[in-house]
């Protein structure tokens, strides 16, 4: 067995998150940017943005309830506490310890009547002369012709959250680590059941059961246990000519020798985890597979070797590419690495199709979280992929995961 990355205790992350402090720190970050931009209020509709601003947790799940029943948050430049509009105000997780005068009934902004009811309540909070930005817009808001500037479109608040969430607060890191632990608990249970004849959906059943029992608030994507082909040409056609990933899990029964690539994530206190590994069903890795893993480690080590505050994305992509003999060791439709927090993939994107110019100019900062997910592929002999989550520090990085690479 090869030990996971986390060999030393992490000193930067509190043992337990202080949720009140987490919200104070987060709204503080939002309000700082608002004041710099002369904004009096931001209105937030995006689920994860509302989570970020309010700390409210609700396991709203999918589109059947997502858009018509969307909670809405309002953050004011001159108020420490956010306002929350939600149908679930009797749920203690939804109240997020907000005082009664900051909790409001639902705002159904997909409906004209919902907008009509919401606006007077909004202006009561903000005053009707306020400079207001919004992260998402609806056709009903557009019809009402409100919250718009000279261009006919509203001032975008999305970038304010994007900027605020880049640097993690200590309590967000505590939530992330707790979420990663819960994820790993689920994975450990799944790995103990891995055998020929087991279906992909059975693995999902074990994973879901375990993460909820262990304290997860929600699963955040349909778990991936993808059986990899030996050759790219044996998989589905792709727009890139490269591998397809992630492909949906089915009731397919696993066979001895199947190479599985995993991709999973859960939510704990609104912070998302991410997990990726390569497993082999019912067999020990071959010499070729072990060598692929060693190359993957070398690529990961090379990228981590240059990871620190002040490094540019392009330092990481260059180091990883060099360690892979000059070939980019990641999937062209994704990236070498991505941020992680209230969204399962958020800035910074390292090596994405935003382009080399972006990567050469983007500077990593202490307090960012990065998921590195290099891919080793030998067409005809399959390959290896895992993910590692690290915290960027002034002089390097700290591991946030501790799961072994078994069976490698």
């Amino acid at each position: 067995m090869t030990a996971g990355l986390m060999s030393a205790a992490v000193g930067l992350v509190p043992d337990k998150p202080d949720l009140a402090r987490m919200r104070r720190d987060r709204t503080g970050r939002i309000r700082e940017t608002m004041r710099a931009q002369g904004l009096d209020a931001v209105v937030l509709l995006g689920n994860t943005n509302v989570v970020y601003a309010t700390g409210a947790i609700w396991p709203l799940s999918d589109a059947s309830r997502t858009y018509f029943e969307q909670p809405v948050a309002v953050v004011l430049a001159d108020d420490e506490l956010p306002h929350l509009f939600s149908p679930n105000r009797a749920d203690p997780r939804m109240q997020a310890d907000l005082p009664d005068d900051h909790l409001h009934g639902p705002a159904h902004l997909d409906f004209d009547e919902g907008v009509e009811a919401f606006l007077p309540r909004l202006y009561e909070i903000t005053g009707d002369k306020a400079a207001i930005a919004i992260d998402e817009w609806t056709h009903a808001l557009r019809r009402a012709d409100v919250l718009v500037g000279a261009t006919g479109a509203p001032v975008d608040a999305g970038h304010i959250i994007s900027r605020a969430k880049l640097i993690k607060t200590p309590d967000e890191l505590a939530c992330l680590r707790a979420g990663l632990r819960i994820t790993e608990e689920g994975i450990r249970e799944v790995q103990s059941r891995l055998a020929p004849g087991v279906r992909q959906t059975d693995l999902t059943a074990v994973f879901l059961r375990t993460i909820f029992d262990a304290g997860a608030d929600a699963n955040i994507l349909d778990p991936i246990w993808q059986v990899m082909p030996d050759r790219i040409a044996d998989g589905p056609w792709t727009t890139t000519g490269d591998l397809a990933l992630p492909l949906l899990s089915t009731e397919r029964e696993l066979e001895a020798g199947d190479v599985l690539w995993l991709d999973l994530g859960i939510s704990y206190e609104g912070v998302h985890s991410d997990f990726g590994r390569t497993w082999i069903v019912g067999r020990e890795p071959s010499a070729v597979q072990r060598e692929q893993f060693q190359r993957w480690r070398a690529v990961l080590d090379a990228a981590l070797g240059v990871t620190r505050a002040g490094a540019r994305n392009s330092d990481l992509t260059a180091a990883a590419t060099q360690a892979n003999g000059g070939k980019k060791p990641w999937l062209p439709h994704f990236y070498l690495g991505h941020g992680l927090g209230i969204d399962s993939a958020e800035m910074p994107f390292v090596g994405s199709d935003i382009g080399e110019e972006f990567d050469a100019s983007y500077v990593l900062e202490a307090g960012m979280v990065l998921v590195l997910e290099p891919v080793i592929w030998d067409d005809g002999q399959c390959g290896y992929r895992s993910e590692e989550v690290v915290l960027i520090t002034e002089d390097g990085w700290e591991p946030l995961t501790d799961y072994p690479y078994d069976p490698f």
């Binding site: 999918d62 998402e136 059961r209 955040i220 890139t240 949906l248 439709h333």
Partner: protein, 376 residues
Amino acid sequence: MEATVTDVIPDDAELRAARRARVLAAMEAAGVDVLIAGREPNARYIAGVPRLWINGSRPFGPGCVIERATGSIHLVSTWDEGVPDDIPHENLHGITFNRANTLAWLSKIEGAATARSVATDGLMPSTLGLIRSAFPQAELADGERLMAAVRRLKLPAEIRAIRTSVRIAEHALAAAQAALGAGMTGRRLTAAFMEAMAEAGVTTPTTQDVAWITGRDRHWAQASRDAPVAVGDLVAFDAGLMADGYVGELGRTMSIGGLPPSARKLRQQWDELWDRLLEACRDGAPASGLLDAYDASGATAPPVPVARGLGLGNDLPFVTGALRRTAADQKLEAGMVVALTAYVWEQGVGGIYGQEPVVITEDGPELLSSAPYRRT
């Protein structure tokens, strides 16, 4: 249970064709040249392609585009697994993190340069700019309203799909109910539901708050997900999942060892409320009749919808006390499938929550559950 599914396959060809014909007819009627769907239920309805389930809302972005003149469909998918032959490879566009790449394929679709009306089912502050760049001649239209109207009445094959989802939801709900015992928590009952759901081959829930102890001191209150269930607690179960894209949902309330004597009167009130709700579920009746049913029974409606449409997700009707006028303007019609919620609450006792999936037919409402909650 369903036949075992080991391949990712597109939705049935006939169903796809029927759904697309409806979309194109609605676009024709509204004078919409191009419709851009970002919301997964709309994209699924148009393209018929299963894509990765992700929790929560997504910022609007073009996920699927249909053009009226040719009927051609463009889809964001890096691969062709699950994609039917009628969406050719050149109409598939890979995942991108670069707005310029989205703009590039969008502005190259058939008729982009001359389109007069482009509908989107969502908006971001930046969407106006994107539309102006990709479709220089076009006015922006409301594609969510268009799609919601199209998807409101279900095709027979859609009702069959919802039936299947309800059956699997019932199966997983039974597993969660069987796990109810002293010391269990809402979270662990949710775990039991999820496990049974996935073992039945479905891995996409529509709610992840499957069970909660109803509060005794406030209407619609719920206890912490980690509070242990005690004898006498009224525990609400809210089961929902999507099989082949279609949503099946139902809700029940249980107590350890059966409903306590203190809840008997409440249960009777629930039955009375349910009868009124079902009575209001008539072809042609205004949806606000469901809110009137609450008023007539003396029960306070919950802040969540008392009826929501079932289908691919985000379906009409959407009936909630916060939108009275919207409810009065919506008609219940044959071909609608609704999840109907009855909730009653009493100080010191708790709440009884029941939800039934119901098809509205010309002959009256038909319950989809094999074991309806209403006592007979």
